[in-house]
Amino acid sequence: MRILLVEDYSPLRESITEHLKDSGYAVDATANGAEGFEFATRSKYDAIVLDLMVPGKDGFKILTDLRAKGDQTPIIITSALDSMENRVEGLNAGADDYLIKPFALPELIARIQAQTRKSYGKKAAAIEVGDLKVDLNRRRVTRGEREIVLTKREYGLLEYLAYRKGEIVSREEIWEHVYQDAAGGSSNAVDVYVSYLRKKLNEGDEPNLLHTRRGQGYFLDPHEAA
């Protein structure tokens, strides 16, 4: 999952970025509102974490401008402004959630997960694909009775594919949502990560769940033939 973080206070920005990356998210972080707005319009994010009082472009302005452009990316406001009026104003402007500073990092992660689940139409805290179960809260993956240990990147890839269960997800989309940082990179690496993940998911004679549609992309499906 790919997150845009707009926060001008560097210690907080750096800590959130590190924690999100540790949790398997791809993160683009900026201290400048105008730059954040440019990122949001240029790339597709699964969620945006937005501070209201940022230089360059006011957080409220970013929010309203994105919504005016029809961008429905979940936006979580993080702000020191804690009054009811501020929260109502933020939510009315189109934010999906409002988190008051100071906050605990696990709470931010939980809220990001809640918003991404909602945006992908998943209400449950776990996604099942056949006998594969992805526990979104605990970030734990099991197949039958077997627990599958994944790296942060592998989990991120599986989570993204699970959210889009049954859909063909292109290599570029995977790269953009799971791997690519603002610095850029190559989507060819996706094939390698997919092959690593597939090996961990399918053990012995277990039926394959992660399929390749040549020239189109990858998808998770319990019924599709290998």
Binding site: Y9, L12, D22, A80, D82, P102
Partner: protein, 476 residues
């Protein structure tokens, strides 16, 4: 000494009571003395006309005197009993008198010839009279015969009236007037008490409303009905104005506390995030050290913010006492720049000095000047476009020391320059939350400028240059 709490009701009652008493008293006196004078005038007129008639009946013929007036009295039973008259022959000294006098004599007095004079007297030891005395010549009976002046006998004629009835009437009038006066005084007193009491009811009601006002509604203006007394409207309007000002001060204080809390929330969030992240897993001692170092930096930032907030609050509260000492502004500028030199190097920002040839030295508060200059330089270095140059200039104009600190901006400057001086105003390109900036640096500068009698303004000719100008007047 016991404090005095004068009562409006008592004062009004006392004041109007004394006024009414004096007016009633004056009225009584005027009426009484008018009536008394009228009585006296009536008696005097009667005496004068009667005396004139009677002296005309004092006749002489061939050396004999005829008191015709006395015959008339004696012939009239009523007059014989009441009329008090007496005539003295100046030549012989003998007198004749009306029967009513009996053994009594009237006082003998007179004025010039034929000039009547009046006199009050008491006869018989108790009887009060009003008398007219006149010196006259007897009237010759034989008008055709010329009698020499010295042969005409002269008389003193005194006619009197008893004033008993008049005194009785005046006494009755005094009683009546006293009663009427007392009644009037009491009625007026009651009416005035009622009117004053009724007039003070709105004041009492207003006082009760104010006393009953809840803490949560202190700032709400007092509403008044259309029939509210005109004289109290000014009081209510003044009170509402005061409330409005108090509410403004309270709001500023609330906003300040609110914003101050917000300013500390973000670094607190930073500390919490760094600590939480450090605790997510086991780390090397170097890693822990680096993270603790970050917490320490945030704490330093918070300390700076708190110091600024406290300075700002103290200056806003007017609690700052100037400690005057010799301040060399160029020296202060030099040392302030040194403090920010490292930050400038990191941002590749240089300085251009355009200082006046002579040092500006003044008795002023060195610490406040240092904070003012340091904040302005910090602001300029922090928000100057990278690889640009901050200009620090001083000049002497019209007995003002003028300090200008300017920095090029990466983006256009906010049009409304006054907003930069609003506490916590930050949602702009110039001030940001990072690097410990609390959003009150320029507000603090303005407060300091006000405290030391200087002015500060943003006077940028170019939209991409932030230029702060401080004017410090010479103090004689």
């Amino acid at each position: 000494m016991k404090p005095r709490n004068p009562s409006i009701l008592s004062r009004l009652l006392l004041g109007t009571g004394i006024s009414i008493f004096l007016m009633v008293l004056l009225g009584i006196f005027i009426v009484y003395f008018s009536v008394r004078k009228s009585f006296s005038d009536q008696i005097d007129t009667d005496l004068r006309s009667t005396a004139n008639l009677m002296v005309a009946q004092l006749e002489t013929q061939r050396g004999l005197v005829y008191h015709e007036w006395l015959l008339d009295i004696e012939d009239d039973p009523t007059r014989a009993v009441d009329e008090l008259a007496q005539a003295w022959d100046l030549h012989s000294g003998q007198s004749v008198k009306s029967p009513a006098l009996g053994l009594l004599d009237l006082p003998r007095f007179h004025g010039a010839l034929n000039e009547p004079v009046f006199q009050n007297a008491i006869i018989g030891g108790h009887q009060r009279i009003r008398a007219i005395g006149i010196r006259v010549n007897a009237v010759p009976k034989d008008r055709e015969r010329i009698v020499p002046e010295y042969q005409i006998p002269q008389f003193i004629f005194v006619l009197a009236r008893s004033t008993h009835e008049k005194e009785k009437a005046l006494s009755s009038l005094r009683r009546t007037l006293s009663l009427v006066g007392l009644g009037t005084f009491l009625l007026c007193g009651i009416a005035i008490y009622k009117v004053i009491s009724d007039s003070l009811i709105p004041l009492k009601a207003l006082s009760d409303r104010l006393a009953a006002r809840e803490d949560t509604h202190l700032g709400r203006p007092i509403t008044i009905a259309n029939d509210f007394p005109q004289e109290l409207r000014g009081l209510v309007e003044g009170y509402n104005l005061l409330l409005e000002r108090i509410e403004g001060v309270r709001k500023r204080e609330r906003d300040f506390s609110h914003h101050a809390a917000h300013e500390l929330r973000t670094p607190l969030a930073g500390i919490q995030a760094v600590v939480e992240l450090a605790m997510t897993r086991e780390r090397s001692s170097e890693d822990y050290h680096a993270r603790l170092n970050k917490v320490n930096e945030i704490t330093q930032d918070m300390r700076t913010t708190v110091t600024r907030l406290m300075n700002f609050a103290r200056l806003q509260g007017g609690n700052e006492v100037l400690l005057l000492e010799r301040v060399d502004f160029h020296e202060v500028l030099g040392s302030a720049w040194q403090k920010h030199e490292r930050k400038a190097e990191l941002r590749k920002v240089t300085v251009t000095w355009k200082l006046h040839s002579e040092h500006f030295i003044q008795e002023n508060d060195q610490e406040l000047i240092r904070i003012l200059v340091s904040n302005l330089i910090d602001n300029a270095v922090s928000y100057a476009a990278e690889k640009s140059s901050v200009t620090i200039a001083t000049k002497d104009r019209n007995r003002n020391f003028i300090l200008t600190i300017a920095n090029p901006l990466p983006e256009q400057l906010e049009e409304d320059h006054e907003r930069f001086f609003e506490p916590f105003y930050r949602a702009d390109k110039v001030r940001t939350n990072d690097e410990g900036h609390s959003g009150i640096g320029l507000s603090l500068c303005r407060e300091i400028a006000l405290t030391i009698g200087a002015t500060i303004e943003i006077a940028s000719a170019d939209e991409k240059v932030f230029e702060a100008v401080v004017r410090i007047p010479y103090y004689d």
